[in-house]
């Protein structure tokens, strides 16, 4: 390895890493937080069978899951200006990622809620609790435990999917690496480097997932959720 290459890598590493901390991670975390709210609302609407709204939710999930994420990004960022709606790239990316992830996670949540035996709902009614009380105190804590691993999976996928935002001019990790590669012609080295930095971030999230699972296990009755 030449000295020039080593210098390029040493110089670019903090730049890319910082861009990860400043853009990739906030983009991921904010989008995912919004997605969780969307997913929870959509799952509850489907579970509680709210007429009208349920059809809207099904339609939304159908559209999102049936079209590529990249197309969705292009449509909102490059397409909407034709209608006079111009969004800055970062909020636009957050919106698309949140809507996209929300649709997938809604299905994860719905499945998790449905996996809690219905008898517990009836038992809750019989001791006088209301539907919302039973949901909040009995069903959702168990559903969350079930949904936690697949939701973590989605979060980790999202860290990497945010690289697509480079296509709509968001200067995140991948775009930063791309620019340095273009300037220095060290494509192989730079893309390996950025891949490694993604790996570092994802490893941290995986580690957080383990920690979260251990905590949830201690409060929700362990592997016993399907008693």
């Amino acid at each position: 390895m030449t000295e020039r290459l080593i210098n390029i890598l040493l110089e670019s590493f903090p730049k890319i890493f910082l861009q990860g901390l400043l853009v990739t991670i906030p983009l991921t975390v904010i989008s995912f937080a919004i997605a969780m709210v969307i997913a929870m609302v959509c799952a509850m609407i489907q579970i509680a069978n709210v007429k009208g709204l349920k059809q809207i939710v099904r339609f939304y999930i159908w559209i999102i899951r049936g079209t590529p994420l990249l197309v969705q990004l292009y449509l909102i960022y490059f397409g909407l200006p034709d209608l006079g709606i111009v969004l800055p790239s970062f909020p636009c990316a957050i919106m698309v990622f949140a809507l996209n992830e929300g649709a997938y996670c809604a299905e994860t949540m719905r499945g998790a809620i449905e996996s809690v035996p219905k008898g517990q709902l009836e038992a809750g009614y019989c001791v006088g609790m209301s539907y919302m009380q039973i949901m909040r105190r009995i069903i959702l804590p168990q559903a969350l435990r079930t949904a936690f691993p697949p939701l973590s999976n989605s979060l980790i996928s999202m860290v990497k999917d945010t690289s697509l935002a480079a296509n709509i001019t968001v200067v995140e990790m991948f775009m930063t690496a791309q620019r340095i590669a273009g300037r220095t012609y060290e494509h192989l080295a730079l893309y390996i480097e950025v891949a490694l930095i993604y790996l570092i971030f994802c490893t941290v999230f995986t580690w957080l997932q383990r920690l979260g699972e251990r905590k949830l296990t201690s409060v929700s009755g362990g592997g016993s959720i399907h008693a």
Binding site: V116, P117, G119, Q120, E122, A123, G124, Y125, C126, V127, G128, M129, S130, Q133, R137, I138, P141, Q142, R145, V219, S220, G221, G222, G223, S224, I225, H226, A227
Partner: protein, 246 residues
């Protein structure tokens, strides 16, 4: 105390209950016998509004309800006086034994935590579960889980407790313990309605016995008469078929 007339229920086109009249007096231990598919469980579930009846009137204490038309508010007022024990226990899996008992008291009945805990401890001791207060349902045997469920029912001090085949999901060696607990409740004068396949238990503990077949009540008699000499042929053949199985 509780009187139901003309109770009907169908699932799809399948008529499960074809006009059932049933009543319960204070202090009654009413056992409901009958073959599978005779509508026993459906009747019990209708009585606590876990299923919506297609027709029927209910008189409970001073209130009278049109069973299909009853409002949510009326149902929750009614359920303050009743408790239900399920075949599959249906404990809250994310709660400990004692939390299973206190949950309804605190959340639905707005009891203080201290008072609810005191009541729950008493109820759990009554069903023989001292030392298991902080166990999760997953750490308990089926029989123990069912006893937690009974404690949960008893702690609310209901006027009526409905039991839906409380021992059917249990291993044979655990059945006796649960039946003993229910027998203890009977001796304390609790009003109960028990759907069961345990004929011997009915024979020993019931004050009255109902026999159901194909969505109707074929017999409704005090225990002595029910198991006496004047039995209907249909009941005799049912009881004989059970004996043969044993």
């Amino acid at each position: 105390m509780l009187e139901v007339t003309g109770l009907k229920k169908a699932f799809g086109g399948n008529k499960i209950l074809k006009g059932v009249d049933v009543s319960l007096q204070k202090g009654d231990v009413l056992c409901v016998l009958g073959p599978s598919g005779s509508g026993k469980t459906t009747m019990l579930r209708c009585l606590n509004y876990l299923e919506k009846a297609d027709a029927g009137r209910m008189r409970f204490m001073e209130n009278e309800y049109d069973m299909p038309g009853i409002s949510k508010k009326e149902i929750s007022a009614y359920r303050r006086h009743t408790a239900f024990v399920f075949q599959n226990f249906n404990l809250f899996a994310n709660k400990t034994a004692i939390q299973n008992v206190t949950e309804g008291l605190i959340v639905a009945r707005r009891m203080s935590r201290a008072e609810a805990t005191e009541r729950a401890e008493k109820a759990l001791i009554e069903v023989g579960l001292e030392g298991k207060f902080d166990s999760r349902p997953s750490q308990l045997s089926g029989g123990q889980q069912q006893r937690v469920a009974i404690a949960r029912a008893v702690a609310a001090e209901p006027d009526v407790i409905f039991f839906d085949e409380p021992t059917s999901a249990l291993d044979p060696e655990l059945i006796g313990g649960v039946l003993d607990v229910i027998r203890g409740l009977a001796e304390n004068g609790r009003t109960m309605m028990i759907v069961t396949h345990e004929v011997n238990f009915a024979h020993n503990v019931a004050t009255r016995v109902i026999f159901m077949d194909e969505g109707r009540i074929l017999a409704d008699a005090p225990r002595r008469e029910f198991f006496g000499a004047e039995q209907l042929p249909r009941i005799r053949s049912f009881l004989n078929s059970l004996e043969r199985k044993e």
